[in-house]
Every structure is written in C-alpha cells, then in structure tokens.
Subunit: 569 residues, 2 copies
C-alpha cells in the first residue's frame, strides 16, 4: 500500500489529554481518533491491528469447538428484568426508551440475550454441550472513561457462553477455554499471566483472569517464582512468617503527635511489623443494614478490601468516617482493637502474636505489650491482607512476586445463576426437567490493542509483535530519484510475493520525517533505499527496536521473510 494514499494522520506532538503510553501513541501514530468521551474511531491502521487480533481469537475459538453467532447491541429491558439485573446493574447499563416507549438498553454483556436464545431451542441433553461466541461492539457507560481504548465506553469484545448438562461437563469446557486462552495470548506474542480471580459482579463459582504484564496496568497480580500459582491480589492467599514481640503486660503510653505507623514505630523503637494497624470499614450489603467493622493488619501490611468484602459477604466496603469511628468507641488516628464495640477482623498473620503496639482509642496514646489472644479475645481471624513481594506461596512456599497487569481476558464458571431465573432447562437422560449450567468467557479485543502497546513500545513509538503489526514491513523511499522510486516499487512487489504486508512510504517528505514515522507506527521491519544504497546495490534493513544492517537488494525479500518467520514461530 502506498502511504501517500493512506489515511494515516500522524501527530508530531503528544496529545494533551493522553495519560498512558498506549493512548498517546495510538493517537500520535494515527491508529485511533476520539469521537466523544470513551468512544473512538478506528482508522485504517488501528482497524488492521484489531482484525489481526480478531482473526487469532476466531481461529482458536473455532478450533476449540465454539460456534460463532452475532447478537444485537440493542436489548429489551424485559430480559434484564428476568435475570434480575435491570435493577441490580448500576448506571453503566445505558437505558433508554424507543419510539414506542419500550424500555431497552445497550448491551454491556450478553448473558440475558444468549439465555433467551438458547432456552427457546433447548429441549434435550442431546443438544448439549454448546458454546456460542461473538465478536461484537458493547457499550458500558463508565463514570470516568480513560486511557483511550483501555477503559472506553463503546468497545469490542469476544464473549462466549457455554451451556452444559452437568457441572463436570462445565468443568471440562472451563479447562478447554482456559487452554484456548493460553494459546490465544501465546499466539499474540504477549507476556501475560493467567491468575485466579474474584468473580465480582458477574458472579459464579470460579474464575480466572488473563493479564498482559505492563507497568501501567490497573491491576496487581501475585505469582509464585517456583510453582505455577498466580492470582489477582484481590484473591492471592500468600502467607508470611510474622514476628512476635516479647510477652508483656499491656500498658498505655503517650505518643504525642505520632499517628502514622512509621512515626509510632520510630518513637517507640519497635519494628513496624509489631504494630497493629486498625482500620474501620463500613460494609454494605444488598439486604440488611450497613455494618461497621474494625480490620487489623500488621503495620507493614495493607488491608485488601476485595478479600475483606468477600469474607464479610458484603457487596462493597468503604473507609468509615471519623464520626462512624467514634460511634464504635474509636478515635481517628489512634484506633486500636481493644475496647471497640464493633466486630474485629484480624489478619491471619496476627494470630497468637504478642508484644504488639496498637492505638489506644485515645488521642496521642498507644497500647504496648498487646497480646491478641489475651487482649482481643473476640477477634475473628481471616486472610484480609494484600500479598506482598517475598511472601510465601500458599501452594509450595516459594517466593511470591508482584507485577502490574492489564486484564484482557476473563473466564467464569457461572453455574446456574442466569440459567435458573431465565429458565434455561432441558430433559436430562432420565427424562427429568433440569436447569442447564453455564460458563462465560470474555476477551477485550479493543482493549488488547492498547495493552499490546503498553507492553511493546519505547520512547520513539510502538513496537508491534509481528503477529499483530498492521504491516510487516515498511519500505522507506529516500529522495526524489525516479530510479529509487522504481526500485522501491520492485522491492514492495518482491516483499508482497514473499507473503509480507508492505507499507511503501512514497510520500514527498524528508528522510527524518519518514524514519520518525516508521518508528512511531511500529512496523517490525524497515527497508530504506536512497541513491547511495542504490549505487552500492544494498538497502538498509532495520528491525524495530533492534539491529540495522545492509542487505543486497535482491536478498531483501528473502531476508525479510526469514525474519518474519523467525518472529512468528
């Protein structure tokens, strides 16, 4: 393709509102443009990358036995009422009425529609299992869309839904999908990790997330360096050997102005790990009143709110206000577990610990010589701390490591939580009416475009993995000589014949602009030819983010093909 005829509007300057690398580079390199908050156009290069990802996903889903369908974006409220989500789903579900005053919504996910489709056709266990997927635009009215394609409102997903006659068969398909996802992300050439995950608002019994590793990721994942354990920190069970102080009487001591862990530890001359950090949370549940609870973790640990909410069976936990802290007998900045009128949840690492320091629930005062067993006898123990680098793996005891990740895939064992209320039933092999059990499996196709860039870029621009690059090679024509132009044209033809997608930079621009754009666009291979190279019979071949070398003109195509194959394998 001739670059002079393509719509690739590159920008010299960083766009003002782009905070992360992928957003900045995808805009600068002319892959996307913003239409309105969280809504983007894919320009020709961006769409080419999107389609490459779709193709890999589609091939692997088909190979795994899933069947592609296409469901609509506009969905009737009626179905969402049947699942109970019309009321429960928050404002991310964009609702509207049509001209006949029928309540409708834009689909952020398709459990309701696919259950409605399947229940109308399902009669016998012989029709199961069935795994239906689609690649389609979704809409979620995010309160704060950000980071470009990373957290948009309209986005492209691959979503799959499987239906089974038994939980065993669901487990089999869950494993099948897990393996399929591993193959997909491997084929995409990404550094990624599959981790155990919280089932969150989708619900269900078991779930794994797939994260592309990148420093800008919004999630933190914990993984073991010795075995294959890996989990979102919202789930990770990593343990630590926690110190105990010397047994002692408990007594109150003044700590004027010292409230932060480091200040108290320094003032009293103890290790931060011997402090008890006590946090008061308000736990909200769909039914029943809000509850205030105190949470104790080691001074050098952090409470993990998703783990806490799961332990409490709460929909959400939030830090309590000073007034709420006072209402249970605490004093903000000096809260400790002794004497509070609320439930105390202590992390497992505090079980049996002695010689601790904790807030005294009095301004400028702490307790020293605290024994959990003796002084906080009603404490409940649970895993409520965030895993840390160096913790022990819960499986093998190896060292836990942390990394930031971008969630690009998620698989769920849903069970019957949608099939039951929506009536997805069939006759089992004994002739009994039975509710189907379900799995669901998502991949964020448009988010992947951004996640790849987060993982694969440098100062100069994007570095596309060969599998995903909009073009495999760019031929940069230097100068205005007609002979050079003709030879570049011939090079493009030879490269295309060798099976590569070629972008020919035939623009009337200075070499500096062309080289800069080639780096910005992130095409894996660059072949540059000008009068000097032509005279010497060589083109300069550069690998994006790697080496450069001169290659005889008639060997360029073979060289590029070999380089491409090496990178695809």
């Amino acid at each position: 393709m001739r670059m002079s005829q393509m719509f690739i509007p590159t920008l010299r300057e960083d766009p003002a509102d782009a905070e992360v690398a992928s957003h900045r580079l995808l805009l600068r390199a002319g892959f996307i443009r913003r239409v309105t908050s969280g809504v983007y156009d894919f320009l020709p290069l961006g769409l080419r990358v999107l389609r490459r990802i779709e193709t890999v996903v589609r091939e692997e889903m088909n190979r795994a036995g899933a069947q592609e369908i296409l469901m609509p974006m506009v969905q009737p409220a009626e179905l969402w009422r049947q699942s109970g989500r019309w009321e429960k789903y928050g404002r991310e579900l964009l609702r509207f009425v049509d001209r006949h005053d029928h309540e409708s919504c834009l689909g952020p996910t398709h459990e309701e529609v696919v259950c409605d489709l399947v229940r109308r056709e399902l009669r016998s266990y012989k029709q199961l299992p069935m795994n239906l997927y689609q690649i389609q635009a979704k809409f979620r009215d995010e309160v704060r869309p950000r980071f470009g394609l990373m957290r948009g409102r309209e986005f492209i997903m691959k979503d799959a839904y499987s239906f089974h006659a038994s939980d065993d068969d669901l487990a089999r398909e869950y494993a099948n999908m897990f393996e399929t996802y591993m193959r997909i992300f491997r084929r995409l050439g990404l550094r990624f990790r599959a981790v155990e995950a919280d089932t969150g608002s989708i619900g269900g019994r078991r779930s794994h997330e797939f994260h592309v590793l990148a420093d800008s990721g919004e999630d933190v994942i914990a993984w073991c360096g010795a075995c294959d354990y890996a989990a979102n920190v919202e789930m990770a069970e990593a343990r630590r050997e926690a110190p105990s102080g010397a047994a002692a009487e408990v007594s109150e001591t003044d700590t004027p102005g010292a409230s932060a862990v480091e200040d108290v530890a320094a003032m009293l001359g103890v290790a931060p790990a011997l402090l008890v950090k006590t946090l008061v949370y308000r736990a909200r549940r769909a039914e029943g009143e809000d509850e205030l609870v105190a949470v104790c973790v080691r001074g050098d640990d952090q409470a993990q709110e998703v783990k806490l909410a799961r332990f409490l069976g709460a929909d959400e936990v939030a830090m309590a206000s000073d007034a709420e802290i006072e209402s249970i007998g605490g004093v903000a900045g000096f809260v400790g577990p002794v004497g509070l009128t609320a439930r105390v949840i202590a992390d497992e690492s505090l079980r049996g610990a002695e010689g601790l320091v904790a807030g005294a629930n009095r301004v400028d005062a702490h307790l020293v010589g605290l024994s959990m067993a003796r002084d906080v006898p009603t404490a409940e123990y649970a895993d409520v701390r965030a895993a840390r680098e160096g913790d022990a793996c819960p499986r093998c005891g190896g060292g836990i490591r942390l990394a930031r990740g971008i969630e690009v895939g998620h698989v769920f064992e849903l069970g019957r939580q949608y099939a039951e209320p929506m009536g997805v039933v069939f006759q089992n092999d004994k002739g009994e009416r039975t509710v189907a059990t379900m799995g669901c499996y998502g991949i964020g196709i448009s988010r992947l475009v951004a996640a790849v860039v987060e993982q694969c870029h440098d100062e100069a621009g994007i570095i596309w993995p060969m599998h995903l690059a909009p073009f495999h090679v760019t031929v940069v024509q230097l100068g205005k000589s007609e002979e050079v132009a003709a030879r570049c044209h011939a090079l493009c033809e030879a490269l295309e014949e060798a099976g590569l997608d070629v972008l020919w930079d035939d623009r009337n621009e200075r070499p500096g602009v062309k080289f800069r754009d080639a780096e910005l666009l992130g095409i894996p291979l660059r072949v540059a030819l000008g009068e000097r190279g032509l005279a010497a019979g060589v083109a300069e071949v550069a690998v994006r983010g790697g080496e450069k070398l001169d290659v005889p003109l008639d060997e360029v195509a073979a060289f590029a093909r070999a380089e491409r194959e090496r990178r695809l394998s």
Copy 2:
C-alpha cells in the same frame, strides 16, 4: 462440520408472524432468531452468509481504493446539531442521554461522524481524494419494523464516504463506486438492476439505487428493454402516446352514481384514457405553509407522489381531505380541473389534449368535450404520472418494462451539503480555503441476506447461490451403519481437501427429515450415502433445485469441485 454438533434449530412449521418468504425461511432454517421488534440474532448459518457477503464487499471496496475504518454506533448530539439533522431527522433517530446527561444517539448513518473525523485532519488538496468505508451495525427506530431482516431496526451496513477537491473528481469516484457496485452484485450471483433514484432525505445531486429483483420487493423499477435506461418509478420519465378525443364544445352531463374512472367511462362510452383523473394533494414544506394542489393524470394512469413532491419542492405530499377539497371549490368523487381555486398540475400526457371528460365539481356530474388548452389555461405541465409497462423509453423510445425490486445499494453525489455546515475545508492548489465535495455509498449487508432468499427459493426452502451458501455441500448420512458413517467421514475429508466447505449431516434422524432439512437450508450440493449406495459404490449427488445423479464414490469430490467452479464462474 458435524451437523449434530452445530446450533441449527430448524422448524417444521412456518412461523406465524412471518409474511415474506425470506423472513419465513431464514427463521425456519435456523439462520436467524428474533430478539425484539426489528432486532435479530444471527445464528451460525446466518452469520456465515453475512460474512460471505461482507468478504465480497470488502474485497471490491479495497480493490476500488477505498480504505476500511470503524466508527462507533454511539454518537454525540453535538455533531448532528452542526449538520442540522438533530432537528430535521425524524423519530427514526434514536436519541438518549448518558449518565452525564450528554445527549447522544445511535447512528443510523455516519455522515456527521466521518465529516468530524476528516475535518480535523484535512489541510491540503494533496490529501484528497479519500474514500473511507466501514461495515458496521446501525440502528434506525423504524415505526413499523417488518419482514425480518428486510426492514429491521438494528442492521449491518457497508457505508462509504468519499471526499474530493473538485466536482469532477467526485464524478470520477461516483463512476468508480458505480462500477464497484456492479461488480459486487455480479459476484454475489444476483439478478439485479441499477436504477436512477430520488435523493430523498439524504439529499444531493445525483443518485442510483441497486435493486435485487424479487416479486416481494417494496419498490417498483422501470427499465428499457432496448437500451440501458432504468429508474425507480419514483424517478422514471417514461413517455406515452396519449389519445386525444374529437374537438367539441365543453358541456356538463349527468353521471348519476358514477365516480370511479371505469364507471364514468362505461356510462359515457369513452376510453378511460380520455378521462382526466383529478387528485387533490396537500404539500408540506419545512418552511412556509402547506399548499393544496390539484393533479391531473389520464384516467388509466396513476399519479406518482415522489415525482410530484420533487416538482413542487415539497418535503411530503399527502391526499387532501374532503373538507380541503371543498375549500378549493371541488367535490370529492367529482373533482375536475375547471373552476378550482388551487394550482393545477397536469401530466405532460395531457398537454394539448381535447375531447376529454373530467369531474364537474358538482355531485353526479362530469364535463365532456374538455380541451386542456381552452378550458384549463392556467394548468402547469409536468411529469407526474407513474411509468407503466409499455411506455416509451425517454432515451431510445423502446418499450419500458416494470419489475419489483429490493433496494440493497444506493450511491449519492452529495456535493457540499454536509461538508459546508460541518466545515470540511482544505487549501486548494492556489492556496484558497475551499469546501470539500462528497459522495456516499451504502450497501445493506444484512438486508442482502434476506433479498437473496427472496430471489432464490422454492416451496421447499432456500437455494443459496454458490458464492453465498453457508456450506457448499452437505453430506447426508443415511442409516446407522458404522461403515456408512466411516465412508461419509472420508467423503467429507475428500470434499474439504477439494476446497469445499462441508456440512456433514451425521444426526440420528430419519432420511426424510435429513432430506427435508437439506432442502430447507438451501446448500447448493447434496451428497447422500446409505447402505445401498455403499454396496453399489455410488453416492447420490443432487444439485439444489436441479438434477440428481449417481456418482462413483471416488469421483464425488472431483465432481463437486467442478460443479462448484462452474457455478462460481
């Protein structure tokens, strides 16, 4: 693919609410299912057909030099205000507010979004021409969605938008797109016609529609049997040689109870063509008051309302009420052009006619001996009649023929009507700020699925053209013999190796059911094998809608490949 593992829910009975063949057959054959009014799921077979159409359209658009992009479904009201369509577009534009109270809509078309995209990047004439297209879901909140995919609310379209520095260049691209559309519909294997069309609500200077010919079509097109003239009847200029009666004095005669053309003609013993049919319309314009006009056509002609509206410069014309007729001096059932206080628009075929009969604007009375020139001297003449079979072609005088068609494509020379208000400007080669000129080009991808079925079906089911068939061949396995099953499997592999997409009917069903489903699904080739055939070493190969013959087992693949190639060429 094994049919036993595919989601192809066929129905024995015709669905109650399906009025046209495509709707009925696509439901029965398990290609689509309804989600809500005008909104459908594409099941695996339906999606396969949709993708085949998309592929042909994409290949030809790329070959024509257009660039694929992807724009969003959700669009901000702001852009539609700039084009002026937020107010003008009717209730088919589905509007809503998001959680931040921003007014938005679901895109029924993308002129606004693409103009916004291009205007931000366009600086110089050197960037033009540019033709951007997408294949994407659209939403139009039709007041009465009907006929399944034919007139749905959510549907898939290919829409392209071209931008040019001059009207000459727009004309060149218009011709390029016209030829591209011809190639696309030829490749799809359809009987179709390109016709001159009204520009309607999209506006612009010139437009052509592409119609798939089918008796159930909602449009009527007129075409010449001798030259290549063809037009929507809303545009067609076909002429006729109209008779004139003998010159006479005008006089009033009683016609008790005779109001209909046939009754009056019979009572007075004259040919219907000598009657003047006078119709009163109310013409509505966006600006200014409604106007009442009288329209005269021959007694055996029909008025063509779109042609009338275009002549009047009206947005819409509708039949007037009896009271409105009286307000201009007419009497419903006996209206004639003489003595009315409104404008009289007479069809060209009445120019200079004499010896006519017309309503006398008195109950049970007509005028005879009417001369248009003498008795209706203020009449304006225009082409306002509907073309009829046998009319003379306006180009060559050949015989006009009529056919019903389904509009599946439409190309427009838009000119500057969007570029001007939206500010799509550039510097021309003289350095002057200039407004770009535009074309737009649509193909109804999902409507095509239905249109093909309307054209290609019989009593038993669909008859897919080879290019569009979800599978090229189905192997029907008869009986439960393991040897037959093994041989069918081998046949499937041989057929796949020969490059055909194969559906293997391995279901545990009676032969009658399998044959019926094969016909319903419309797979072009059917290979049936049971114990009897196996013993004789032959399979029965049937062409859908055609002949049947026995083919030796080891020649089936070669036979099928040859048959496929014959049909693709």
